[in-house]
Amino acid sequence: MAAAALCRPASFFPRPASPGQRRRSGGSLASVSFPSACRFPGPRPCRFLRSASSSPSQWGMGVRCRAAGTESKAASDAAVRSGEPGQDRFWVADSGRLEFIDSYKLLQLTGTVQMREMKEQFLDNMDLERERGITIKLQAARMRYVLDNEPYCLNLIDTPGHVDFSYEVSRSLAACEGALLVVDASQGVEAQTLANVYLALENNLEIIPVLNKIDLPGAEPDRVAREMEEIIGLDCSTAIQCSAKEGIGIAEILNSIVTRIPPPNDTSQSPLRALIFDSYYDPYRGVIVYFRVVDGSIRKGDKIYFMASGKDYFADEIGVLSPNQMQVDELYVGEVGYLSASIRSVADARVGDTITHFGRRAASSLPGYEEATPMVFCGLFPVDADQFPELRDALEKLQLNDAALKFEPETSSAMGFGFRCGFLGLLHMEIVQERLEREYNLTLITTAPSVVYRVNCANGDIIECSNPSLLPEPGKRRSIEEPFVKIEMLTPKEYIGSLMELGQERRGEFKEMNYITENRASLIYELPLAEMVGDFFDQLKSRTKGYASMEYSFVGYRESDLVKLDVQINGEPVEPLSTIVHKDKAYAVGRALTQKLKELIPRQMFKIPIQACVGSKVIASESLSAIRKDVLSKCYGGDISRKKKLLKKQAEGKKRMKAVGKVEVPQEAFMAVLRLEKE
């Protein structure tokens, strides 16, 4: 199944949504769990503690999942006290496009959030998230809902939808019993919809199809419902039509959660097992862990043990999310909550880990835990060498909150001291870079991202290489293997041709094509991950007027005929511009790269040759002419203010540049290799 392989992808969604885009594309998962009986304390004003948390970021381009949690058929207070399990159901929603506003409507309808507490898009707290229209971190909320005079407790888990973070998505799905499949009634099923549905089915979730945005003039709920039946094989006769914006269908969604999603199993007597589906670092309290109790129960003050990291802590504080954190003394099987235990780094309590009691350990941990494996690497260098210690501090701080972020020092003669950093994908990389610049006030040069190559050396060693400038010399290597991915693209049939062309250009191997409906086809290719890092997704979108969507998964390493392309500016090799390319493409890339650099590097006071070389052979060369004249001759009547302003602006323009030898190279030039096909 596609979903099975949907892990640790590298990303390819580089661009944020246009600002101000109200309707968000993509979906996120939300789970709602209702442990039995909790009578909800009335909403108290409490601080919403979601701190700006780092990395896992998602940005759903067209695809977004929303898992809603279950409701639990809560019995009564007594039932809770007796430890009777609540009945939780989770729902995954997906894909199409459920806006955040949805969860917000749910919160509103259940009275979880008071009118005055409502901020637009309550669950989205980070500035960056709001700006990009993405959910970077999971959000969770618990609500109370009464149906037929019986109170239920629902827990909503909202997850990132971007493929960079599909591991986090899979863990939150694992924490649910049901999912809402939310599809945009004006758009239809997208590639990631399928991936998420498969993921949900794999986790045995009850799926409730929902058609959102039926208020839009272009909405075609019937057609989309048919499409869902055809493609996914889901019975959509009971699909709920809703409009989150207009508040249509929200009550129906809640009702069907209660009636259709099964309650959790009663395993309250078993040893504690709780699944972490999110964690973040709070500077005052340490790591805050979001989890769902799968077996047993947890009390405040318990000594707990994290089964994957092997760390033990005392749970100083436990509570529920309503959505503000609210302390409770005990959480029972089925419930979703948070705990704080003075944990120093999120790496100690990573998503997917199982919490158990230190004294009474569970026999086995919950399945599905994975170590984070960075797929994309790049160099981060401070423009000003003095900022190196600050950059290190900032990365360390970000890592507290981002177990997937890896870094180690890197030195380059051209760039000075910096760090080689590993990310889940390109979006993850961009988010980290942006946070470093925005929150830590650093000015950085980012080098073009690289995948991890596997080099079979002549002496029999196998070296993993994520930095093109460190690739062993040709004489010392026997072969190079590169990571391949399987990619599935869904497209209206008129764009099949141009997508096949794209697949061929990117060294793709055609695997399969199916018409999923009369007008839409699924194309499957296998291609090198390196060809996808960069503008692949932009190309996919621009060649199909935005109609195609894609999903991919890692399939393994394969040998390719690769060479290292070096760049020399003014006769000096610039290592960060080195890139590994297929031998057949070296000339074309070399030519395009030198031309692009000529455009990007401002002219200087002397002529600058720009060359691309393979080994010692120059395969492409351009020359940037010198500035001949840059003089303001008249200083009229002593009025120097305007002239000074111009010169200040000119000085300002030099600041984002890195001096490589004598040449000032702007930040964009280091990403040039990604943008060769843009024009």
Binding site: K629, K634, L647
Partner: protein, 474 residues
Amino acid sequence: MLRSTFLPFFISSPFPPAKAFALRAYLPRPPPVCKYSSSAQSPPPPPPPPPPPPTSAYVHLPFCRKRCHYCDFPIIALGSSTPHHPDTDPRISNYVQLLLREIAATRAWSDDCSPLETVFFGGGTPSLVPPGLVSSILDALKSRFGMCDSPEVSIEMDPGTFDKEKMERLLELGVNRVSLGVQAFQEELLRACGRAHGLKDVYEAIEIVTDCSELQNWSMDLISSLPHQSQEMWEESLRCAISARPAHVSVYDLQVEQGTKFGHLYTPGEFPLPTEMQSADFYRTASRMLSGAGYSHYEISSYCKDRYECKHNLTYWLNRSFYGFGLGSASYINGVRFSRPRRLKEYEEWVQKLEDGLVVLHEDISVDTKDMAMDVVMLSLRTAKGLDLRGFAKCFGKSLARSLCQALRQYVESGHVVAMDDDRNMLSYPEFELKMSEDSDEMGNAVASIRLSDPDGFLLSNELISIAFGIISP
């Protein structure tokens, strides 16, 4: 009551005693907190003596017959269909009245203020203003600030706007330096840039000026890089200029400004404007031909025969204070630069406020040290004399002076920047490197001054000065 709501204007109110005055040599104020010198051994500069008061005045006379196509100065076009002769045009006399009011309302620097040493009538086309009115302005300046025994009194004059009689009249009034706006010696180029005069006017004007035996000190303005200008035309203009034997030549490289007719029509470097390469060659040609004819290239766009530098313009390059009067004019007093409104109506209101003592200074009185260092660098590097690193280090700290040298060292190597020792001998690049490495603490003293080379350094002055700016304000 109302008065208290406005910041006192620097001229119309007594200075707050706490404010430090620094204008020693060309540095108007000391850095209040000398960040750059704090780094190490170099102690903060001692409190400098009070700055010298202005001894220069710029007077703006904005009237023109029409606006030239490249011009974005604050001017008032009289138009060709005006019913009035310039001598009787009420717009001119009314404006001069306003000027006189501004001069009268401007407080003298102090009781024992220094008399004016230079006055510059700029425009616009000051030669359109009747000599009688020019005389009244000079009288007003004299009575307000005093005038030294032999002041330099310059006036800009355009061909076609004066005759022999007017010329003589102006000389009688005390004008002793003329700047003649010739711009080009080709009829088609004069037309192309929208000048109100033709080639015939140019030769007549030159004849009038050279006929006045008492007027030795006159200057000619030329513009290079005009549309359709060729290398031959430019050389011809320079030859004609040299044969007219002015004491001073100003060569301006055409700046295509937004909002001007040229700004609408042309893009720099594209036809019909010369390419950047041609335009750079024009600059080199001017430097070569004028130097060959005995002129010294003492500032980016100024050339003169020995001792005929424009004293008034030197005030600017030396960062000394000066008064400014009239529409859109700039003044620089006590470390504060101020530009008057560029529109007549607003200027009139401003003069009224000045008279009422209510003038708001549009910028903060406190002058930023960095800004001051930038002014010094930007202005002094325009001159052949260059930047005195000793004086600079005293005011802004040795480490900053050193950083500047560091940043410019590759341009010393490339020959764009010339480093000099105390006797103004040029240091070769190895000598410069040696001085730099000798004693890092004494670096501020190892190289006495730097200047931009002529013509290569001057040609890229923006680039070089902005590099220095980046060091001063990182």
